[in-house]
Symmetry: C2
Subunit: 357 residues, 2 copies
């Protein structure tokens, strides 16, 4: 059976002042009236029932996530006592699900991406699950056909077609590439056989656990003890989890496996890496302003503006800015500086403005 | 004796979102922790006692002004039932003061300008009062030596020196000039004998009333009836006041008088016409950002930013913007568009966002 594993542990300081230590990006309603996490769960509706969805997150967010997602059994919202990157998180999920469903297949999904339309996404997931039933020993990734020479993503080099599932081809992965420089990214875009690695994976729980035993045995070996502690106490002891190797599933497992498959996504995908990315996913006015909430623009163009429902934002003459209002703080920056919000958060930290973190 | 007459009736939409229909510019703390009106009153401290200060204002603001200035006898905060420009306002003040003090001299002062330092200002007012005691039949204005070819002010053409008072020369006014075009303003600046008309006047109440009888008899004739109504009912009947001619003191009286004097100001003066003007009167950081309240700037330069004490404003990379946060609205505009805030207020009105007006 197909199980959903939503990774919702990310901190993320690139959405300050909306995001805070206790309110990370996946808990923000950046695009619709629902948080990105709620959208990620809703995206599975009809394909995977709530009873087969696990959400892995940081202990700081688990309470709010259980409140927001009451349909998900509360012991399936799993609180990591500390962040150990994706290999540990996915390993833990695989171990939990392998116990419940020895032949279970996982769809591993980030909580904070924007994916549209839902039908294409579900079709692709179903095809991926079918491909895995044909090739149960493989790990499968989703590749997003690039629309620009992005330097912020890892790339997947698509190899030969291996087979078809539900009318979609799946391919062997020839190589994984780290975030490229601009020139390399341009070449990838031109060549056409390079895809963005969206961090969406499909595989059997058992297959992943075998992979971990081969490539990260110090992780695989500790998972049974962690599960046992979780069963006994309802929580994962921090020292046990902190002892796990901190490595990504890409670097720790996928890049070391010979048989990794990739399906090309036919859905729209955006990881919404910063406020500037919202211009790709929010509806705009004639002047290209993208707004959430009450925004009035007078000869202003190309801005991303977020005001909320009880505050009026007024823009005159400005271009290509990000303006974000929250109850206690407002950000005004150039779109091109949107990534620098992280620096700003560091400034707040160094100036001990803790109430704003 | 010298009486202070502070004109505090202006509406002013150029400081939205700080200014609102019920909170005009003179009631904003734009530069210091005190409102401009409170600063205007404080500026007279030691020269004119509270008991000889009148504040003329719009009925909508009179309550708040009495609260803010409890030292001023409340019947000396005079509520105009409607705005009839400065000739009516100053005529009314002159009539009131002439009754109290037949030889009284008025210093007529706008409530919403920034003037520094206080000592120079008081010295200049004292010299003006002395000049009027020498030339009791004259009206006297203050001229500000221009520091730039401003097109937004009226100009005074300074004529020959008439005399000295307390070590300061006073001059005859050769002509009053309306707001000039850019070329004319540049010529005025170059010629050196043109001064900005700051709207600060000194004259005997009786002299002004005689002038009104000559130049605006339909105004002068109605003042006794208005005073009588005010005495009897505590308020000015709207129909009486609305019947007064609506004309400025400059156009209606000063420009028609032969004997007008001018003293050159040796104080710093700014009428703070828009948020952009705040860069001339607020202290700045090394990058030329002028801030009031909690503002953090990261590679931002030349901005005017107002946040208040309980809200953090964060700027990254932006230049030459005006950013103003208030509880229910935030403005982001280019400094060069600061005057267009008026248009924005019209937009709010046309979109019936009355709670923001």
């Amino acid at each position: 059976m197909l199980h959903g594993v939503i990774m919702a542990g990310g901190a993320g300081t690139r959405f300050w002042p909306m995001s805070r230590e206790r309110r990370p990006k996946q808990l923000l309603a950046l695009v619709t009236g629902r948080t990105l996490l709620e959208e990620a769960v809703a995206r599975l509706e009809g394909l995977i029932p709530y009873g087969r969805i696990h959400v892995l997150t940081n202990g700081m967010y688990a309470g709010e996530i259980r409140n927001r997602l009451p349909e998900i059994p509360s012991n399936q919202v799993v609180a990591e006592p500390c962040g150990r990157d994706t290999a540990a998180c996915i390993g833990l999920a695989s171990a939990m699900i392998a116990r419940l469903d020895p032949d279970g297949v996982l769809a591993v999904l980030p909580a904070d991406h924007v994916i549209e339309p839902r039908a294409s996404f579900q079709g692709a997931l179903a095809a991926a699950a079918r491909a895995i039933s044909q090739q149960p020993g493989s790990l499968l990734t989703f590749g997003i056909p690039p629309s620009r020479p992005a330097t912020g993503y890892g790339y997947i080099e698509r190899g030969p077609e291996i087979g078809q599932a539900e009318g979609r081809a799946f391919f062997r992965v020839d190589s994984f590439r780290e975030k490229p420089d601009a020139q390399t990214a341009a070449r990838f875009l031109e060549q056409g056989n390079f895809l963005w690695n969206a961090g969406i994976f499909v595989f059997r729980a058992r297959t992943l656990l075998s992979s971990l035993e081969r490539h990260l045995p110090e992780l695989a070996d500790r998972l049974p003890l962690i599960l046992e502690s979780l069963d006994r106490t309802g929580a994962i002891p921090e020292p046990l989890y902190a002892a796990l190797p901190k490595v990504s599933i890409d670097y720790g497992v996928l890049e070391r496996e010979r048989e990794v498959l990739v399906i090309q996504a036919d859905f729209e995908w955006d990881d919404v890496g910063s406020f500037a990315a919202l211009e790709r996913v929010l509806p705009g006015d004639a002047a290209g302003n993208r707004a959430l909430g009450r925004v009035l623009a007078l000869d202003a163009a190309g801005n991303v503006a977020i005001a909320g429902a009880d505050h009026q934002l007024a823009l005159i003459g400005v271009k290509d800015l990000v303006v974000v209002h929250t109850a206690d703080a407002t950000l005004v920056c150039r779109k091109q500086d949107a990534e620098r919000v992280k620096e700003l958060v560091e400034r707040l930290r160094s100036e001990q403005l803790d109430e704003l973190l």
